[in-house]
Subunit: 463 residues, 2 copies
């Protein structure tokens, strides 16, 4: 540790107290990396302020000494956005937790950034309301990370991304200024909508400390079906029909290709296949109803699709336990590590109509160009967002770069996006120009420079 | 005209052609002001480029000579955002019109910024899709203005503000750079979401030239009722019940206080009162259904509210003509000028529960502090957005400042917003600090300076 480093640590201890500042061997492994495939990095220190003022004080100290800061939430990111940088301070929000207020009249929740999504979902439910944000990592991810990466997840189709669920934000700027902008109104056009800058910018422009979330009425009932379909044309047909007949009740439309389905239902422990035979496509359709008769409407619609031979086979959830079991086939993706070992995960975006052609081309090239490469395809297809898992099972070292090259080259050819929901972080930086043109990249740099001229906040991430 | 001014005009004529550049007596009255109460201003020139490259070339010329530019759309704004500044170039998008593409698979429309909203609504309908943005000025307002002010309007409750309907944007920056970011995907987290900067910043950061709009499935049926209610508690009760029972089908919930109702239905030509008696509150409820039985569901719900004495009296639309006639009571606000003469219009935002107390306090203070002052209240109450019209009928000069002072002071006391949807422009600039704190205002200035360091684009507006 240099003399300068020692001074920074001392200043942080002075401001936050000893318990809030961890160094050297005291730094837990979890703070050294995220859920991406990137290797661990030991930061100069991990600091854990317990209130927004502590975050602001930390940032002011870091700015004084010119030390970079990497914000950390639940560390469940897949792009390396929260991985420490050597010589940086990892500022963890893990002790800035708790729900400050649930306002039933405004249907809002004011929450501290380190709170896990599952705690928020539960608290909303206990208050008779509904938090519409949901994703596989719900038990570990922090809401601050969800917002700073503009998380998508399972119900974007009906409720939008995290961006659409945020009404107000409090952030600490790179110079340590605390900007409290905890708006609770649905409509507020009084000047620039500043929160938009920080949502989805992956902690490179400010550190989110508190959030006002928009809550929704609790759905009266949830209907779900797992369907086997004969072709991708049938998938598109089912989607069009679901949009028309279920309208805004449609809350999820998850498509799984057979390569994914096999691993999820045959190899992941605790996941069962509710269908009796094999199919070229599997679709989990979910709708949330307002009244009892919506259940009947859902089943009638589903029957019409079976009769029209759009669906070959379907299992309809008879209980919330069934709904949960159906989602188990999708949530299984998080367990693929145990089955396949280390692998790459992707969250590309494309026009919905192009998805199957993409999967075919990508699968074929991966198999051809990378001997032994297994890939499987699934995701939030109705949102134009496909996930891919790829690896060479059993290989001593995974050919991550070669896999990236194929996956993103096929995205570029189709004018898609290299990240629909996980963000750019470190991992996708080389591929950002595949989805953004030079003028867009230059404008991003202008914004970064305006807010963080010394590049102290999460430097080298995204841009 | 100074020598410098003559040079700018010559350069613009050279770049755009003579027809695109109007000066002096050739400048139409309409380009000298908007629909606010501000007086007309003659700009140095009105220029009317016909393509994005022409807008970029114009901005480069303006930057070269250091001449400010004021972007103009349909000039229907109520805050003075598009009113020219003396010595400025008014850059009108009126010839940058037309729909470039409707993509049925992606449910998107790519449109030029000067296109009127009504043309867009019609084209979407012709393509079997639905443009969810709607507001009274639909026949005159331009989509570029709608987006640059983040317009709200009639169906925010179900579809969100203009911001939520924009997937991609093309803008010209103050230095003349054309940034083409015409994303058509619902989810795209590849770096900063740049369009958010330009949506709602009222032409102070860039000039919007093209827009990718998100379209929706056409509603299968539209149900509407005009209801008389006994109290504001009943209004809140009806809203809670509508949210619960109609869920996401609920598309509008417009409340009108009796002072508004009297003018709208007794004095505005062509508007009829569908109810038979007087009520303390009038509510227009609208829902959009996916199937025939939704109509029945709507009527059953309405009957339950009559039985519970939440509603005293209701007229239910039997046809689309009825739905249109009911909206006539709300659209009547645009005709109040003919009945009341010059007046102030407001678009304040508040917690929904506070609305009636606000109306009472504001009405009483206006009447007491400004002799002869008439005020009336109505608006998108479910969104937390109330409109107010106030004036001294027949006065030789309206006491605009005195009215502003009362209306905004009562907003400040209740921590509301001085603009829920119309924007700040020039008119509300003095009141922006009522709704934003010093840190927020300072951050807005940082953004403005980063994108427009010489303050060439719509200077003095918003900030």
């Amino acid at each position: 540790m240099t003399a300068d480093s020692a001074q920074v640590i001392a200043a942080l201890r002075d401001a936050l107290g000893d318990r809030a500042v961890l160094t050297g061997a005291d730094i837990p492994d979890r703070n050294k990396q995220d859920w991406s495939t990137l290797s661990a990095v030991l930061p100069l220190a991990v600091i854990r302020p317990t209130d927004p003022a502590g975050v602001a004080a930390s940032m002011r100290i870091a700015a004084t000494y010119g030390v970079p800061v990497v914000p950390q939430g639940g560390l469940t990111g897949l792009a390396g956005g929260a991985r420490p940088i050597e010589g940086s301070i990892a500022l963890s929000l893990e002790r800035l937790t708790g729900i400050e207020e649930i306002d039933r009249d405004s249907a809002t929740m004011t929450v501290r950034a380190g709170t896990t999504l599952e705690v928020i979902q539960k608290a909303a439910e206990d208050a008779g309301l509904y938090c519409a944000l949901d994703l596989g990592a719900r038990g570990s991810c922090a809401i601050g990370g969800n917002v700073s990466t503009n998380a998508g997840g399972n119900r974007v189709l009906r409720y939008g991304m995290a961006r659409e669920m945020v009404l107000g934000l409090e952030v600490v700027l790179p110079d340590g200024t605390l900007v409290t902008s905890l708006n609770k109104m649905l409509k507020n056009n009084a000047g620039y909508d500043l929160k938009q800058l920080f949502i989805g910018s992956e902690g490179t422009l400010g550190i989110i400390t508190r959030i006002v979330l928009r809550l929704f009425p609790r759905p009266h009932c949830t209907m779900a079906a797992l369907c086997g379909l004969p072709s991708y044309d049938a998938v598109l047909s089912l989607l069009a029909s679901a949009r028309g007949s279920l309208g805004p009740l449609l809350s999820a439309f998850e498509v799984m290709w057979p390569d994914y389905w096999e691993v999820a239902t045959r190899q992941v422990a605790g996941v069962r296949d509710p269908l009796t035979s094999h199919h070229p496509f599997y679709v989990l359709v979910e709708a949330q109803g307002n009244k009892d008769s919506d259940t009947e409407g859902f089943e009638t619609w589903l029957e019409s699709q079976v009769e029209a031979e759009v669906i070959t086979d379907a299992a309809v959830a008879q209980s919330l336990a069934d709904v949960k079991a159906f989602w188990g086939t999708r949530d299984a993706a998080a367990e693929f590590k145990l089955v396949l070992g280390p692998h790459s995960s992707f969250d590309i975006g494309l026009a919905v109509a192009d998805m199957d052609r993409y999967a075919d081309a990508c699968r074929a090239r991966l198999a051809q160009e990378i001997p032994g490469c297994f890939s499987c395809f699934y995701g939030h297809i109705a949102d134009g967002n496909m996930h891919i898992i790829a690896c060479v099972p059993g290989a001593p070292a995974q050919p991550y770069d070669a896999i990236d090259a194929v996956v993103y080259d096929e995205v570029r050819r189709r004018h898609g996006t290299v990240s629909a929901e996980h963000g750019i972080g470190l991992k996708k930086k080389p591929f950002l120009p595949f989805s953004r043109n030079p003028e867009e990249l230059a404008l991003m740099a202008v914004i970064k420079h305006a807010l963080d001229p010394r590049s102290l906040l999460n430097p080298g991430k995204v841009l």
